[in-house]
């Protein structure tokens, strides 16, 4: 294929680097420096997709971020990505892209029938059309919409690319590297401020790349290049291209997405694909420029109708002609600049100017170049289906209401300029109260809420000299506030052509008898008639009109449609535009990859993983791990072909008959010191702590102020004013914050310090009838007899030269101990226990066996202390002190908490002693009762009792106290199970608790 629309020797592309690419399966060539859009246009490709609603043919409308049409599905290095703007995607060798929203192909599209049936698809059609009959939804509407609509396909593969997040602080963030961005950055940087200058495109300079101006005797581009290379050398400046500042959040936090590798065929090793920057800036300068505004006319969505500034950019930056027989339709001088550029490249354009007698330097230049100009002329409608072939034009009356005779002129593109709309998105996101500027017919930033200022065209200043003057000044002043320096840069001499004022004309009336679609929103297919319908149907607020018609709700967020939409509403409503107001701008300014938002926090990296010091031993010994919060804990140790059930049964059984060892490092540990430590415990726990002697441990329950159980655990008095508190694994962090809250805010008079020591201690629970024998061997110099170390006793010991803490506490209900050593000795301790324990047939046990042991003993844990239960529910009412007050006590006398039939923990056994009971099942009286069957309680935890060799569960049951011996049904609709059960005591094994004291 030849690039028949490529100009010779014009543009900023590198003609020595030819790149091949594919679009819809067909191979083309372009050059390094091309965008996908410019390369396609160079090859004469103008049909790129179909519109969202009517499936009308779509070409290119812009050349950058404002592009509403040219959205493609991109294929790069084995991955695919939807919603890529061809105007923003830089060309690389081997790029592949396809059209979206067309089926079966871009040239023959079934959905285009919608175009001919469009009477059925007016405003609000989403709300109206697919409402009834209901049965049609799944069978007909949804599959049809899914197949026919959409803007691409999301990959369901794991994205192997890497995305990074970066946090940055600076004095000044400048968004946009056009004239105002460069000038303000330069002035601020020279004055010592730490500056970040961000440019969305690959090239710096903004409009300086395409405008005919002279700054300090250099062309605009040369001046921009000079400033950029100087800024890049400065240590206090970060200059970033391909970086879009897309969100302005609270307290001057801005987020920017940097497309690090998207312009390359594949990401370099150790590089991310994209990087998301969280930037906290002391001051923000918004130099985001302006976007050309369309003029609305018939069939203005036909491929070949585009913004005049885009046509100019394709010529000047990419050396590409958007057409060879162009028609320029303008209401201001910008169209003339494009026409002059065509003329310079040997093309003869025709200008239609809506103004009757404009006069300016630029117009004179066009005349001198013999460019044909028709004044008081408008395009009534574009003709052609897949590409503009001609235009119906007409003279328009001075009041812009009456059209003259329709003439048809041949053309292959229509370049439209309806003046300029400042890009106020960032300012608006920051909370800036925007105001309407009558002179330019658009909203500009008004009163700042945060530390931001908008410069240049984004602020409605459209002359270069004024823009530069203001930007140098502001850059200096803002930096001076921060650095207190006074280094001023000199202001360069500026030469630019003067413009005449624009015509506020924006919408061509329909000729008599014609019913052309006149589009406002090109991506969502919202036409003038849709807005008219919405207003006729009573929608008034612009926010409602937007949602009803979907105006401005597409992925381009109405960058080219907002203002014309407002003008239309204000005209119909006979209001001024500021009275209509604009809809809220919300981040992101442009679509952001989900990958960039997620960053590195994917899968296992979505949260940190905590491992105990014995982790590698567990790994080596076939542990199968389970997530316990952020911890990894051995669930069971696999032997041979054992499954979870067999292994956990074996492990639990061994604890009941011999001795087992379990890694309990994950338990939360809090070190408590100070003369008022006992008083603190008295207040946070429900039971009394003042009389606990040194060397003793006690079980305690703590409540929230609303009386709900918060956590439980044992606390040991290590010395006079020193306690060691343990919490459950899950609540460790919350309990520490809870204690800090009361100590710092509620009872600051208490002289106590608390600090987490979870990481400092490794813990091993040794449980089983032979555990004392083992302990004796481990600590031969300590008296660990029942008298020397009674139940709930504590002592320090010497474990083969390592200092250890020995607690006689039990979670399994067996005779048991817990040994703690400093973390770095954890593995040594563990290996010693295993080594010495061999003679007692020791086996390590995991969380599954641990659960089994505690469930059949009736020890409540996380599944019962689930944030919905009070002490009574868990049969912990014996631990409620009557003598003292404690956190949450006052709540316990509330009516519901003292009800006679209050729920309580019970044991549940299936009548057949065989069927396992699913956790979460409901308990009901009558399994055949009609729905909704009254629920009496729920199964909180289930196990296979190793003591009795049958299933056993714990349940929280209404009036549980009086239900022992009752026969009920367990129902699990999820597992499709109905199981007859008997309610028994929750203490299924050793109800008197003799073993722990033996």
């Amino acid at each position: 294929m030849t690039q028949s629309f490529r100009l010779k020797d014009v543009g900023l592309i590198d003609r020595n680097k030819k790149l091949s690419f594919k679009f819809n399966g067909k191979k083309y060539y372009g050059y390094e420096g091309d965008s996908l859009a410019s390369a396609l246009i160079a090859n004469g490709v103008h049909l790129i997709g179909r519109s969202f609603k009517y499936h009308r043919p779509r070409g290119f409308f812009g050349a950058g971020v404002d592009e509403p049409y040219a959205i493609v599905q991109l294929y790069r290095n084995g991955e695919t990505e939807p919603n890529i703007k061809a105007t923003e995607q830089e060309l690389f060798d081997g790029l592949e892209a396809t059209s979206v929203n067309c089926w079966p192909s871009v040239n023959f599209d079934i959905g285009a029938v919608n175009n001919f049936l469009r009477i059925f698809l007016p405003a609000g059609f989403y709300y109206k059309t697919f409402m009834w009959p209901k049965s049609f939804w799944f069978k007909i509407y949804e599959p049809f919409i899914r197949k026919a609509a959409g803007l691409g396909t999301v990959s369901i593969k794991h994205d192997k690319e890497r995305y990074e997040h970066k946090y940055e602080y600076c004095d000044l963030l400048i968004a946009g590297s056009g004239p105002s961005g460069l000038a303000s950055a330069y002035a601020a940087a020279k004055n010592g401020a730490r500056v970040i200058l961000a440019e969305d495109k690959s090239r710096f300079g903004g409009t300086l790349l395409t405008s005919e101006v002279n700054i300090g005797n250099k062309s605009g581009k040369e001046w921009a290049d000079g400033i950029i290379s100087e800024l890049k050398e400065m240590p206090n400046v970060t200059v970033k291209n391909r970086s879009q500042v897309f969100g302005y959040y609270d307290h001057n936090m801005l987020v920017m997405s940097e497309r690090v590798s998207d312009h390359l065929p594949e990401t370099k090793e150790f590089h991310p694909k994209q990087r998301l920057w969280y930037i906290r800036a002391k001051e923000v300068l918004i130099s985001s420029g302006s976007i050309e505004r369309p003029i609305v006319f018939g069939n203005n969505d036909t491929p070949g109708v585009m913004l005049s500034s885009a046509a100019k950019e394709y010529m000047k930056v990419y050396g590409v002609l958007v057409g060879k027989n162009p028609l320029i339709f303008t209401n201001n001088d910008s169209g003339y600049e494009t026409a002059i550029e065509f003329k310079k490249n040997g093309i003869n354009p025709l200008i239609l100017d809506t103004r009757s007698n404009p006069k300016s330097e630029i117009i004179n230049e066009a005349r001198d170049l013999d460019i044909k100009i028709k004044y008081s002329y408008v395009v009534v409608a574009a003709q052609g289906y897949k590409k503009v072939k001609s235009a119906d034009i007409a003279k328009i009356s001075d009041d812009k209401e009456q059209l003259g005779n329709i003439e048809n002129v041949k053309c292959d593109c229509i370049c439209v300029s309806g003046y300029w709309t400042p890009t106020i998105h960032l300012a608006s996101q920051s909370g800036n109260k925007t105001k309407f500027n009558e002179e330019i017919d658009a909203f500009v930033p008004g009163i700042s809420k945060q530390n931001e200022k908008t410069l240049g065209a984004a602020n409605g200043i459209y002359t270069l000299e004024e823009t530069l003057k203001d930007s140098f000044e502001v850059g200096h002043e803002v930096s001076k506030k921060i650095t207190n320096n006074e280094n001023k840069v000199s202001f360069p001499n500026v030469v630019e052509k003067k413009s005449s004022i624009h015509d506020k004309f924006w919408c061509v009336p329909l000729p008599k008898g014609k019913n052309y679609k006149r589009f406002l929103d090109f991506q969502n297919d919202v036409a003038v008639s849709d807005i008219e319908i919405a207003l006729r149907e009573g929608y008034r607020s612009i926010e409602h009109v937007k949602r009803y018609t979907t105006l401005g709700m597409a992925t381009d967020q109405g960058k080219t449609s907002n203002l014309n939409g407002l003008q239309l509403v204000s005209k119909i409503e006979n209001k001024v535009v500021p009275a209509v107001g604009h809809t809220t701008f919300r981040p992101p300014y442009t679509p952001v990859s989900i990958g960039a938002i997620v960053g590195r926090e994917v899968g296992k990296h979505s949260k940190p993983t905590r491992k105990s010091p014995m982790h590698s031993w567990h790994e080596k010994n076939n542990a199968v791990f389970v997530d316990a919060g952020v911890w990894l804990r051995p669930r069971y140790y696999k032997r041979g072909n054992e499954d979870l059930f067999a292994a956990s049964k074996r492990e639990a059984k061994n604890v009941r008959t011999n001795v087992g060892v379990c890694d309990v490092t994950t338990l939360g540990k809090i070190d408590i010191k100070g003369p008022d430590a006992a008083e603190l415990l008295n207040r946070v726990y429900t039971n009394a702590w003042s009389k606990l002697p040194v060397g003793k441990a006690r079980y305690g329950v703590m409540l929230r102020e609303d009386g709900i159980v918060m956590d439980d655990g044992t606390t040991t008095r290590i010395s006079e004013n020193h306690y060691h508190m343990t919490t459950t694994t899950a609540q460790a962090a919350n309990v520490l914050s809870h204690l800090e809250y009361y100590l710092q805010l509620v009872w600051p008079e208490l002289n106590v310090n608390v600090v987490s020591s979870t990481e400092q201690w490794a813990g091993a629970a040794i449980a089983g009838p032979k555990s004392r024998n083992l302990l004796q061997k481990l600590f031969p110099n300590s008296d660990v007899s029942n008298e020397g170390l009674p139940f709930m006793g504590y002592m320090e010991g010497d474990l083969f030269g390592v200092k250890a803490r020995i607690f006689r506490i039990s979670f399994s209900g067996e005779l048991a101990y817990e040994v703690n050593v400093e973390s770095n000795n954890g593995n040594f301790m563990w290996e010693k226990i295993i080594e010495v324990g061999e003679q007692f047939e020791i086996q390590p046990y995991g969380t599954e066996a641990l659960s089994t042991l505690r469930i059949e003993m009736g020890h409540v844990a996380g599944s019962e202390l689930d944030g919905r239960t009070i002490p009574y529910d868990n049969s912990l009412e014996g631990l409620l002190s009557k003598k003292k007050d404690f956190i949450g006590k006052r709540s316990l006398i509330r009516e519901a908490f003292t009800a006679e039939d209050r729920q309580k923990v019970v044991g549940v056994v299936p009548l057949d002693k065989k069927t396992s009971i699913p956790e979460g099942s409901h308990l009901v009286k009558d399994s055949k009762a009609p729905s909704p069957n009254p629920k009496l309680g729920y199964i909180s935890a289930s196990c296979w009792s190793v003591e009795y060799d049958n299933p056993f569960s714990l349940a929280i049951l209404k009036d549980g106290k009086n239900m022992i011996g009752e026969k009920l049904f367990v129902m699990s609709p999820l597992k499709n199970k109905i199981i007859p059960v008997e309610i028994v005591s929750s203490h299924y094994v050793d109800p008197k608790g003799e073993r722990v004291r033996s």
Binding site: Y167, Y249, D250, H251, N252, M253, Y278, R280, G431, K449, R683, E705, D706, S737, E740, Y741, Q744, L745, V746, P748, K884, D885, F886, R890, S891, R894
Partner: protein, 89 residues
């Protein structure tokens, strides 16, 4: 993301803090009789106001101190921050 001045550490990002609710709530004294209504007000009832609000934050991933922050719940403007022991003025 808010930028909060911890009175102990200086300006820090919101993600180092956790929110702790209305700072003007005073816990009833231990051991004192209190009506159901007063207790309910303490445990449950909070104003959900738009505007200036004294609230508690804990500098969780920093100095772990609970602090008092005067913030506008509508605009997120932060006017003042105080240490736990400092009285709201």
């Amino acid at each position: 993301m808010l930028h909060i001045k911890c009175p102990h550490c200086g300006m820090r990002s919101q993600n180092e803090f956790s929110y702790g609710g209305d700072a003007s709530v005073k816990r009833p004294e231990l051991g004192k009789d209190i009506s159901d209504q007063d207790w309910n007000n303490f445990v449950y009832n909070r104003k959900s106001l738009r505007g200036k609000h004294w609230e508690l934050w804990q500098h969780l991933a920093g100095c772990r101190q609970w602090i008092k922050v005067e913030r506008d719940t509508g605009s997120h403007e932060i006017f003042k921050t105080l240490k736990a022991e400092e009285e709201i003025s």
